[in-house]
Amino acid sequence: MPRALWSGSLSFGLVNVPVQLVSAARDLDYRFHQLHDKDKVRIEQRRFCSKEDTEVVWEEVAHGYDLDGKQVIVTDEELASVQPRKTRTIDIEAFVDLADVDPIHFDHPYYLVPAGESEGTLRAYRLLLAAMERAERVALGRLVMRTKEYLVAVRVREGALALTTMLFHDEVRSTDPIETGGKKPTRKTLENALAIVEELSTDWDPERYTDCYRERLKRVIDRKRKGERVRAPKPERQPAPAPDLMAALQRTLDNLRDGGDARNGSDELERLDREELYRRAQEAGVSGRSKMSKDELVKALSNGE
C-alpha cells in the first residue's frame, strides 16, 4: 500500500466515510542529482538570509508576498487560519456525468482508501462505491491539503474510489486567441480522412505503450557506466505540408488498403527508430553508418536489400 498523503473523511449527506488519500501515479523517472564536478560530491541546497549572509533554519522561514511593491509577511499559522474550517472533510457538493467533464480540468490522480478496518467504515465506503458505480457519476467536492484548496472529482475506478484534483475554470485558458482557420473540407476530403482514421483505429490499451524515453535513458546510463561515449542522433526532419491534400489522402488510403504502412507505403524501415536502424546497418556492414541520420540509414538499408 502506498503512503497516505492525507487522512480525513469523505462526507456524503450525513454519512462520513473515514478515508486516506494515496497517490495513483508512480514516479518511475530516472532522477539525477547535482554533483560538484571536481569531487563528485552531492550538492546540498541550503537557505541563506540575503541580508545577514548566514544559514537560516526552516523554522525561521516565513512566506513573503510582494503587494504592489510592499512586502507582506505571512506565517504558517496565519495561512492555516484562512483554511476552510472543516479542513479534514471532503464535502460532496454535487454529482455530475463523467462525460461532461473535459479532461483538461483533471490534474493529479489519487485514490481514496478506507481509513482503518472498522466494519462501519468499510461498509460506508462500499455503499458509496455501489451508489456511484451504478449511476456512472462523478462526485465533486473540495479538499484542503497542505496549504491549498482543491476542487476534486471522486469516481469509481477498478473497485476503488479514485480522486482527481481539478483546475479551477480560470486556470484553463480560453481557446479564442488560438489560430485555427482553414477551409471547410469538401465532403469527399472529409470522407477520406475519416476512412484513414477508421483504418488506423484500435482499442485503447495503455499496456501497449512503453516509455521509450525511460528505456533509452537507462541504456545511455548503462553504456556510460561501461565507459562508452554516447552521441545524440540527428532529429528527423520536419515534413513539408503536402501541396495536394486530396492526393495525400488518396495515397495513404491506397497504402493502407494494400496492407502497407500509412506513412510510407510498405516500407517498414521508416517506422524503426535510429537505434534499431543503426543495429541493422551494423549487421549489414553499411559503411559510414555512425555519421548517418535516420533518413540516410533508411536509404542505405533499402538500397542494400
Binding site: L14, V56, E158, H169, G181, G182, A193, A242, L245
Partner: protein, 260 residues
C-alpha cells in the same frame, strides 16, 4: 495573442499538419517567496559542496545518476539528449482510439494546438477527429524528453494531452482492498442512489471558485493594512455509526429543503 511554446508538424498517414502548441492551463495559486522571519530579508538557496563546505558556482555542477550508494554515472547534456530519440519536431498519429475510452487518470498536461502556415490540413484533422469522436495517439518530444500524447478535437480547436504510461498509474488491486465485513444492504444502496440522484447536476466549471485563493489574497491585504489575524481552531466531523439512519436523515433533509 499568447506565445506559442513549440512549432512542429502532426502527421496522419501522408497528411502533414503544420502546428503550433500553446499552454492550455495556468496555475493561479498565490505564490510566496521565502523570507527570514527576523529581518524580512529574502532567503537565497545556495548550492553547497558539503565536503568543501563552500558554495559551488553553477558551471561546476554536473548531473549524476546514482547507480550504487555514492557511486554516480555523470551524464553530459548531449547524452541526456540522446535519450530523447530522433523524432524531433514531428508527432506521427499512427493510431486512433475512442476518445472516451481513455481513463482520466492517464491525462497529464494539456496544450492547445493551433494552425501554422497552411490551415487546411489542420481543419481537416480537427473535423475528422470531431466527427469520429476519436483521439490520435502519438509521441511528442519536448525539452529533450519524449511523451505519449493524445490529440483530441475540442470545439473548433485541437488539444494535445501528454499521457501517463500504464506502469505509472496504480491499479485498483494495488491498494489491497479489505474484503471482510458485511456489504451495505439493498435498502441502503437504494437510498444512497437516491441521494446521488438528488444532487445530480450538469457540470459547469464556472460554479466553482477557488475560495481558498480568495481567502489567501484577503489575508495578504489584511496583513498589509496592519491587522491582527485571528488564529481559529479547526473542527473534526463526527462519524455517525448508523448508516441507514444517516442516509434517511440526509434524504429527509433535502426533501424539506426542496419544498420550502
Amino acid at each position: 495573442m499568447p506565445r506559442s511554446i513549440w512549432n512542429g508538424t502532426i502527421t496522419f498517414g501522408m497528411v502533414n499538419v503544420p502546428i503550433k502548441l500553446y499552454s492550455a492551463t495556468e496555475s493561479k495559486t498565490v505564490h510566496f517567496h521565502e523570507v527570514h522571519v527576523k529581518d524580512g530579508a529574502r532567503i537565497e538557496h545556495r548550492r553547497i559542496c558539503p565536503r568543501e563546505e563552500r558554495e559551488v558556482p553553477y558551471e561546476q555542477i554536473v548531473r549524476g545518476y546514482e547507480v550504487a550508494p555514492d557511486e554516480y554515472v555523470v551524464l553530459e547534456k548531449e547524452e541526456i539528449k540522446a535519450a530523447a530519440g530522433d523524432r524531433g519536431k514531428v508527432v506521427h498519429l499512427d493510431e486512433f482510439v475512442e476518445a472516451a475510452d481513455i481513463d482520466p487518470v492517464f491525462y497529464d498536461k494539456t496544450y492547445y494546438v493551433g494552425s501554422r502556415e497552411d490551415p487546411d490540413p489542420y481543419r481537416l484533422l480537427h473535423d475528422a477527429l470531431r466527427r469520429s469522436d476519436r483521439a490520435g495517439i502519438g509521441r511528442f518530444t519536448f525539452h529533450d524528453r519524449e511523451y505519449l500524447v493524445a490529440v483530441r478535437a475540442l470545439d473548433g480547436v485541437m488539444a494535445l494531452h501528454t499521457l501517463r504510461f500504464h506502469d505509472e498509474v496504480m491499479a485498483g488491486e494495488d491498494l489491497e482492498p479489505d474484503a471482510s465485513g458485511r456489504d451495505p444492504s439493498r435498502r441502503e444502496v437504494q437510498m444512497a442512489e437516491q441521494l446521488v440522484e438528488s444532487l445530480h447536476e450538469h457540470f459547469d466549471p464556472r460554479r466553482y471558485e477557488d475560495t481558498y485563493r480568495a481567502a489567501v489574497e484577503d489575508l495578504i491585504e489584511r496583513k498589509a493594512a496592519g491587522e491582527e489575524i485571528d488564529l481559529l481552531e479547526q473542527e473534526e466531523p463526527e462519524q455517525g455509526d448508523d448508516l441507514a439512519a444517516a442516509l434517511e436523515a440526509s434524504l429527509g433533509g433535502r426533501k424539506t429543503k426542496a419544498r420550502s
